[in-house]
Symmetry: C2
Subunit: 196 residues, 2 copies
Amino acid sequence: MSENRTHVGKEKILEKAEKLFTEHGFQAVSIRSIADICGVTNAALYYHFEDKAALFAEVMKRHTQRLSEHLAQAGEAFESPKDKIYAMAKEYLRLVSNRQNFMFLIRHHGREIRESNPRSGFVEMVTDVLSPFDDVLDQAVESGDVRPFPEGYSGASILIGMIHGLSGYQRIQGGDALREEDLENVIDYFWNGIKT
Amino acid sequence: MSENRTHVGKEKILEKAEKLFTEHGFQAVSIRSIADICGVTNAALYYHFEDKAALFAEVMKRHTQRLSEHLAQAGEAFESPKDKIYAMAKEYLRLVSNRQNFMFLIRHHGREIRESNPRSGFVEMVTDVLSPFDDVLDQAVESGDVRPFPEGYSGASILIGMIHGLSGYQRIQGGDALREEDLENVIDYFWNGIKT
């Protein structure tokens, strides 16, 4: 029973902490503010997490594992690898463009957070986010639609780079977020670039 | 004579300030520390620049205009647009990967600097860096090698996104900087993606 309460407590903490980090950023949120919003003592938090960086790493891990499943599901309704990639990229873009989503924080302040927290699990986060795309690309390579990537490449990292390259350019020029047709164009460039 | 001294002074200030910003970042460098290293008073700096953000914006403008010319020159030795793009991208990558280069600061901390300084001239900076690439792409469109990009696109922003996508992925996995063959591969993907 006590073990069960501890488990519930941890999930609740992670959920509330994710909300706080998303709203206020990494620096501005303290162990104290998370404890306050959870209605527990600091000690209760330190029972579960070594420090704020460890707590943040768990929030991120929980979020990106779910995101990874969510993206894979977004692709499932489609037959062709290219259509799957498009559906997943659209969903990815929707989430990272939303200030109320934890991924917005990661996308826009990930570097600062990572540099101040070398143990923060960013490698796993990147793999979690890219893997649903890379899984589809692997299948497309196997079926002969796409040329194999060299060892150590993530095709998805190149695609996501293209998307953020164009969307960053348009944003800095004062434009809106990428439109669906822009995403279609970028995926066309990518697919034509890698196909057999 | 006095006017001439003022002019020389400004160039010298910009040069020394660029070095300081490159070494210590934007936040850590003050008007005072720039004045000290130039051997002038704070007032002498305020004669030329309204504040630190304005000084930084001029450092960046001076740097990226020169960079733009430098990249265009790196492409000049080559005939085909694709070879020009490769030569320019190689040079770009060499510079942004070098901690002793001002572009390293912009690449790695540009967002923080931009967010704390809305007037910092980042739009012009982005255009300066991308324009030598986009000029070559425009020529390739005119000669019929490459499909026209839609209104408001910078093809270069997509290419640079691809390069940073893969290099960021490899860096986070603990790998080295992009090798020449990786850059060749990325440019192949890009070129195949946009060609007619």
